[in-house]
Subunit: 431 residues, 2 copies
Amino acid sequence: MKNPLRVGLVGLGTVGCSVVSIIQTQTDLLRKICDHPIEILAVSARDRTRHRHADVSPYTWHDDPLALARDPRIDVVVEMVGGQNGIALDVCQAALAHGKSVVTANKAMMAHHGVALALQAETKGLSLCYEAAVAGGIPILKMLREGSSANTIESLYGILNGTCNYILTTMAKTGASFEDVLEEAKRLGYAEADPSFDIDGIDTAQKLALLSSMAYGVVPDVNNLYVEGIRGLSAADVAAAEDIGYVIKLIAKARYHRGILHQAVYPALIPNHIPLAHVDDVFNGVLFKGDFVGEIMVTGRGAGGDPTASAIMADLIDLANHRHVYPFKVSVRDLIQAKPESMDTYTCRYYVRFMLRDVAGAVSHVARILADHDVSIRSLKQPEAEYHQGIVPLILTTHECQESVIQKTLSEIRALDILCDDPKLLRVEPF
Amino acid sequence: MKNPLRVGLVGLGTVGCSVVSIIQTQTDLLRKICDHPIEILAVSARDRTRHRHADVSPYTWHDDPLALARDPRIDVVVEMVGGQNGIALDVCQAALAHGKSVVTANKAMMAHHGVALALQAETKGLSLCYEAAVAGGIPILKMLREGSSANTIESLYGILNGTCNYILTTMAKTGASFEDVLEEAKRLGYAEADPSFDIDGIDTAQKLALLSSMAYGVVPDVNNLYVEGIRGLSAADVAAAEDIGYVIKLIAKARYHRGILHQAVYPALIPNHIPLAHVDDVFNGVLFKGDFVGEIMVTGRGAGGDPTASAIMADLIDLANHRHVYPFKVSVRDLIQAKPESMDTYTCRYYVRFMLRDVAGAVSHVARILADHDVSIRSLKQPEAEYHQGIVPLILTTHECQESVIQKTLSEIRALDILCDDPKLLRVEPF
């Protein structure tokens, strides 16, 4: 029997306990597939007395996670605390400084400090793995980094946030309002008490920055990335999209070409005949296109203790077999610092919902200003049934035009005294 | 610069030329991701003078592929000849015997001789990789072997043959007959002149045996596997399935439980609301369920030079980075010899189309024999419009019953003088 890979776990919430449970129960399988047996040596969490689903009594307990990170008996530290800075970052830095590889599920930390950590790891010949940080149990980092490694990636789309996807799917199924579904999601444990991180698209943006890096070999850049969440979407938008053959999904997208990186997160109308439109509920999905392999799409559970632990274990099993990879597919010294593309020059079709005051000439005003800017209308609807207290929705889609043009057009329309509410602008994603 | 990984290519058809093209064109990417540069040293194919899309003039030409397999300068032999035995097998055996790792796209050889080859490779500490043998460009072997490696797989479904999937999708879209669509597929290059290997399910069965092995750690067993192809499916079956909310797909499925392996390939009705139902045209798809990760589904191009070459390159890049894996996820000495489960005890819902002679009492006879065997009818239709020259279709679905019971029931019905044609039996797959 070879030397074990001695593991220290920091953070013993749902994910941490699932990791313990896999190591304790899948013994026969792990014995067969690990060159070096995986052995938990020590654990650390905030509260030692808390009731847990997994029995951690066999392991050394460290009150101080940094003491675990420095424990000379440990080979790999698994960080499952979360958060962009603070303890998580301290633990990972300390572990690498003390010659230990790191496995983490922390997208915020990796999106913001990943390059610095990777540099620290590479310099010392250590591993830094974070399969669990993006799309939960889906091995998407491995697919991009190894499975389709010979390809130049041409485009990448993701549905990366289970909370948002649950909300949007439920709105589409039930016709309920955003607010009502969000409350239900909180009750079901699919949304946090403060859901802003999810519904404002920040979580998705962090995951996208990591995916872009893995797909295109660029420095992850979460700061120069257009982010728009799903707040303010109404049941009317969801229904109107369905009416014209689309579903609304919070999409992450990235495209790289000759030094320019286009990355964006926003709710978009996507045609309901493409498979990405059927990634529903809390599921995640990623669609990417390589120059040789063509399109590959993968779906699975993007969150939850067990799926996330499955991804952490995949990293640990790779380490236990000496399967070494660069954290960002290429060495950090080969990462490209891409120039972010401004949203202004983005071109697509648009969906706009105006809530018009029911005054003579309102539609004519809107149509004229669109025409003035050469924004051509593709479809238009003012539903008879939805007239309500002198307010009437006008829903239209445009032909392709530039983002800066449609934004300028809407500003002019806003300036008129014919709207009861801010117009809702959504992008119709070309597939 | 480290020593190159020196590669010899055997077979220079579409796939071989795509491999050459990737190595010649993706130089910047390969330089960044390969610890040892991948270098083609020698090639071998049947006809040296044939016009090829790739320039192989820089490489040593071997008329005899076995001479290439023995060439002492070569580290890895890539076998792209195909075929269960013959040259392909000779080349792989010779390469391993001479201390070279093997990368192959050959499902037939791997399904039948994979264990022997893996034993030869393991004994010498060599690699035997065959990502390209299953589902073309989809890195499904890597996903099962590494990405979800900590999971006990609970079930596995695949749509693994692009020819059959193209035929079935086109029949569903156009209403055309099997024969007409097959002819069209031949014209388009999606079907071979002799299509039996594809349409009789043999190709799918070989891929399934390899997937089962990777998923469940069992000896690949293509000989004890129920195989039924798509010959004899009629436009009427496709339309009737659609009518009740299903699509017909040639599915491969495998389930392992306590030493018993259920593996089967057959055309099945699958509910059109599940994602597998939307794997269309020449695409492949695999859906598997792990005890921790839950369901993961992946789709992509299952054939073609470029996607297949993408998978071969993934294997080569792993080798160029010393990322070693067992050919069948676990060592051949740990593979389980599973007991195949007979189809007789399989239980599911069934679809049956009878072509009845239009005589009084025909339906009553059918219904009585079904009742005699406790086969309960779930839905029943004798379409008014399809009466034709004294023949009328009777299409029904049953509640769950055992395969042996429905087969016995059909035998008794066949014995009556009320059928104009053999009844068409299809399984309604439970999801």
